[in-house]
Symmetry: C2
Subunit: 388 residues, 2 copies
């Protein structure tokens, strides 16, 4: 028989009493997170099931199929990493980089620099090509660098969230194959909202996030890799130096073996399934078209207000627009004014663009005409209050 | 002026049409996840806010204060990692292990082996002490191993989810200090449900999960480290070989600088705040007492049914009970029967205990008398159907 053991004394809670949660209403028109679709939030709020429940195992398959569609890929190894987009970014690097591998990064914004930092931690021999924050890379620049650095991996950012630039992808995949190099692509701010064709573009590895074009809260990081990338993974000497993100282990759970790896974030995956299902219901092309139409309305409206866009029209991302902060305006004070008085979030600049631009996102659920008009009206009525 | 660009053609969705989500109702009495508290699910389903929104920054502080209370620690570096418990496990190792460090692991179950695997990937010089799956370590065993292997880190599992053993912690922390070693503790199945005193026990690093004693869905991994562990981190040569889990970067976001690291899983943290708030409202001692009372009811009830428990009474975890599968019973078929016919999930054995035990969890929101009676009634009425 068991007997009740005495419990040790505890320290009382030291802080102020914490009241029940009450979250202010925000319209998230910054670089992300964007607002979630209400039916995604509904799905996330359902009671969890076990991570090996037959129902959940089926759901994992649905998430994978839908993700393949939204990424336009047939890659077997397509799954959401159990962390945010940055975890999925690290997953691509942790699995594919072996110490000493030549790794070329196109740096034309904040997230290129992050790729450099991560790849260095995995002991890649990192090289960079640079473009100014607001420009993309030309095919010529890329090919010269491939010839010079003979990288095993070229990493590019398709949609630079820090600058609003969309990297044109025509021919880059073929160039990489010609030079026997894998192509790794950051699609954090493009998946679901911007034309993105993983297989047709010959992208070998890619990662994204849940909280932008997919209209889901942040917390999952879609990941995909093709057979070419898998071959490199299979040939690596020694284990992947990251247990949590090791695709060879993860595939035993997501693949047909269903071997327990970690306890899946079940509720987030309920939301992911619903988010992807909604895109399939709308149609991927329709989602891309909607993002483009609303972005064009925004661009035109901002220019009509006398504002200047940071990126030339042919390189602009439909999901994220960078607007130059006019001279004499305190950009941060203006954003804070919109947040505090209207519950509207827009972003400021990062890195080279800190203090120079605002970042306006129209992503997923939030890409609609009402939101375009709302943010244009606010720029129209409020910005003048900040002029000296 | 911008002009509408032609969109590329897309491949249609290849799978069966995916209907709106409909999740079966489950009572999760296995090794986790456990059911979530309804008000936690409510919190998670709120629209997200930005990860640098002043409201969210305040909420991060609340989560940290409450987490310190539930862990009984004053550690500055106490925060939920943006991944599951396994990510937090890896965070302790990634930050503290330098190549060549002697790292001693107490292996008396599945999760000890996982610590070995992870520490090896970070190039620790790993040593183990072993106990059979169902036993704990004595102080003498631990001290002999500390003398023999002179580890820089001793890693133990407080609550072995694979066996149902609770490692007695008296004096282990003092032994570690005597032998100049850091103490790393797995508290995945103890936090919130089992007496756990990080500071008093002189635990230097610990990790846990959201989906057991805290009554939150899986997806966050509470993490804490004290000044001794921080000192080792600060002295390390080179960067932490894991960008996502690098505490020196994370602390710039969670600390007063609020420098962007990754986009936080905002909604999961809404849920974490609510989950921790509910424990503070109940009182930590009361939560521990509730878990013990319900576990004792379960243990007595199972023994009254003629079943044998795998762990001797003084080492039993109140949150997870291992029950020997009687001879002649197909344990897996019985679990599946309960799941399919009653919506009740109980777990099977892992590793050395595969096929030998069931694992019954009474964790967080699910630790109540009704659930104890429900599972006992099912064992009473259904198990006989599986006897030859």
């Amino acid at each position: 028989m068991t007997t009740t053991q005495a419990l040790p004394p505890v320290q009382q809670f030291q802080g102020e009493p914490v009241p029940p949660i009450s979250v202010p209403e925000r319209l998230l028109l910054g670089p992300g997170p964007s607002n979630s679709h209400p039916s995604v939030l509904q799905a996330i709020s359902l009671q969890p099931v076990g991570h090996l429940d037959p129902f959940y195992v089926d759901l994992m398959g649905e998430v994978q199929s839908l993700l393949r569609y939204v990424w336009q890929t047939s890659n077997r190894l397509t799954l959401p990493m159990s962390g945010t987009g940055s975890a999925a970014m690290e997953a691509t690097i942790a699995n594919i980089v072996e110490p000493g591998d030549s790794f070329l990064v196109g740096v034309n914004g904040y997230f290129g620099n992050r790729l450099v930092d991560m790849a260095s931690r995995y002991k890649a021999d990192v090289h960079t090509i640079k473009a100014s924050w607001g420009e993309a890379f030309t095919l010529q620049e890329i090919e010269s660098a491939l010839i010079k650095h003979k990288p095993k991996i070229l990493a590019l950012v398709h949609a630079e969230t820090s600058t609003g630039v969309c990297q044109p992808m025509d021919e880059i995949g073929s160039l990489c194959r010609k030079h026997d190099c894998l192509l790794l692509l950051d699609t954090v701010t493009s998946l679901g909202g911007v034309p993105l064709l993983i297989d047709e573009w010959k992208v070998d590895l890619a990662y994204s996030c849940s909280q932008k074009g997919l209209s889901c809260p942040p917390g999952l990081g879609p990941f995909t890799m093709n057979k070419r990338a898998e071959d490199k993974l299979n040939k690596r000497i020694g284990k992947v130096p990251n247990w949590y993100l090791d695709v060879s282990l993860l595939n035993q759970y997501w693949g047909s073996d269903r071997i327990y790896h970690h306890t899946a974030p079940v509720n987030m995956n309920f939301g992911m399934r619903e988010a992807l299902r909604l895109i399939a219901e709308e149609g991927l092309s329709n989602s891309w078209q909607r993002h483009r139409n609303n972005a064009e309305l925004l661009w035109k409206g901002l220019e009509n207000l006398g504002l200047e866009l940071h990126v030339k029209s042919e390189l602009r991302l439909p999901t994220l627009t960078t607007v130059k902060i006019p001279e004499g305006i305190d950009g941060k004070a203006f954003s804070l004014h919109l947040l505090n008085n209207y519950g509207v979030e827009i972003g400021g600049g990062l890195g080279d663009l800190a203090g120079k631009v605002w970042r306006i996102g129209l992503m997923g659920y939030n890409s609609n005409k009402e939101n375009v008009n709302k943010v244009l009206d606010l720029f129209d009525s409020e910005l003048k209050k900040f002029k000296n």
